[in-house]
Amino acid sequence: MSDKPPIHTSLKTLSISILLFVLLIGLWEFAVRYLQVPAFIVPAPSSMFRALYQGIASGLYVEHVGVTLIEILAGFAIGSSLGLLLGVGIATNRYMAYFLYPYVVVFQSLPKVAIAPLIVLWFGLGITSKIVAGALICFFAVMVNTIAGLRAVEQDRVDLIRSLGGSDFQVFWMLRLPSAMPFIMAGLEIALTFAMIGVIVAEFLGAERGLGMLMQSMNFSMDVAGSFSILVVLAALGLVLNRIIIFARHRLIYWEQPAGARGSEPPDTH
């Protein structure tokens, strides 16, 4: 851990951040114009923002964002629930661990993007194939973290509840599950990114609607500024979803203060 004090957001640091952003965009604009980079290789930021504005104003992006968002959320919800259930099962039941875990490991060593074409073939061009792809790619992260979290409990704490006459279920509910929450939330954070990847890749491969499909069609028509503008939309979408998860994390794991916000320990006055 670093001993350097955290940088606080102030008017000064904020204006430096904005200045840096404007400078970078300006540099990009200047480089594209000055070096006469063709618009179908790298567009100028001005044309990218124009495409973004037109896409949003015409309502085109809104429709496709809606479809992609639903696919991501559904894939994430299904994949995470599956990962959580299987993780709990494998961590708490020896037989499930022994018989199921090998399959899970083999499945995970497979690059799942490689089965995306099959998923599209099996589940069609609609949203189902996108949800399945998203769920399949994200479930493992949640499962592995759930297992690790449930197992990372000190034996002494288990003994403490046992010495009071507590049951297996009480050990799970009062100790293992809350102890695993930081792990599970970290898994969910990764899973969300993975669900997004699964959905977009499946949309590339064949979809009727969605941001991935839109981007693919722009690529075919050499509308690179349009493609870039979709990237901006995707980045914004990812950022918002990630913020929501982090917010939920702080709410659920209220006892873990973020680093840097820790108060000093009170002196032992007794």
Partner: protein
């Protein structure tokens, strides 16, 4: 599996019968010729051999011994988490056959649950044993008052120092009015100054609360300072070398540690470890 109820009037064990006026005073703990062997690969390791001791009701007994003498194994057998290979243990007169509900345990580390406030941590035994919430909430607050942490009841453990956390752990161990308080090197992780202060506090708590305490430690002065009897154990296999009565006043100030009587007890206990080569 029979589990003793907290309120049960336990039948008297083959106790030491020292009670005056109230007939037989049953032992709080009886350890009867307990042997424990573990299998490690093809080898059998004897952790405890024929260990016998007792703790009378309201008595403070310390077990002192170097690491490897089976102190912690004995503690796990007393809590019912391990079964002995031979012999048996009784608490309040009932033989332990599995985890029981009438024991309070304080471990070396406080083992507080970070998601529970100090008060909620003290309430843990009531939650596990589904005891009446209202009465135990009152009791939890009284116990926090007793260990001087009333002002910290709504704080989270990470906001507390190590000594304060261990005091919360002691209050938690007493919540369900256990027949016996088992303490497994409870102050081993604290710095020397805090440790001495905790010793004085524990002594006060014991005098006020009149709990039967079995206190495991590897510090000889700590054992002599706190206990009315000290059980000296030697390692490999863990055996009872001597059970020593400490004839010092019940109320012991820290300065007592400098007295010749205190020093004599410490030297006597230490001689056991010297003769078995634990201390050279």
């Amino acid at each position: 599996m029979p589990v003793a109820n907290v309120g049960d009037l336990a039948p008297p064990g083959q106790g030491t019968g020292q009670g005056t006026g109230q007939g037989i005073s049953p032992s709080a703990i009886t350890v009867n010729a307990v042997t424990k062997r573990f299998r490690v690969g093809n080898d059998a390791i004897t952790a405890l051999e024929e260990v016998s001791l007792d703790v009378r009701r309201g008595e403070f007994v310390a077990i002192v011994g170097p690491s490897g003498c089976g102190k912690s194994t004995l503690l796990k057998i007393l809590t019912g988490l391990f079964a002995p290979s031979a012999g048996d243990t009784r608490i309040g007169g009932t033989v332990t056959t599995g985890p029981r509900r009438d024991i309070g345990v304080v471990f070396q580390s406080p083992l507080l649950f970070p998601w529970r406030t100090v008060l909620e941590n003290v309430m843990l035994p009531a939650d596990v044993q589904k005891l009446n919430r209202a009465t135990h909430l009152t009791r939890a607050k009284e116990l926090l008052d007793l260990v001087g942490l009333t002002d910290f009841k709504d704080r989270y453990p990470k906001e507390l120092s190590g000594g304060m956390q261990q005091r919360v752990a002691i209050a938690r161990a007493l919540l369900h009015q256990p027949a016996i308080l088992l303490m497994d090197e409870p102050f081993g992780a604290l710095d020397a100054m805090t440790r001495e202060r905790m010793n004085v506090e524990l002594q006060r708590l014991w005098r006020i609360h009149n709990t039967s305490i079995l206190f495991i430690t590897h510090s000889i002065p700590e054992a002599v300072f706190l206990a009315s009897r000290v059980v000296v154990m030697t390692p490999r296999p863990g055996r009872v070398a001597e059970i020593l009565d400490i004839n010092l006043p019940a109320k012991r100030p820290l300065e007592l540690m400098n007295s010749p009587e205190f020093g004599a007890y410490v030297a006597r206990i230490r001689s056991h470890f010297g003769s078995v080569g634990v201390i050279d």
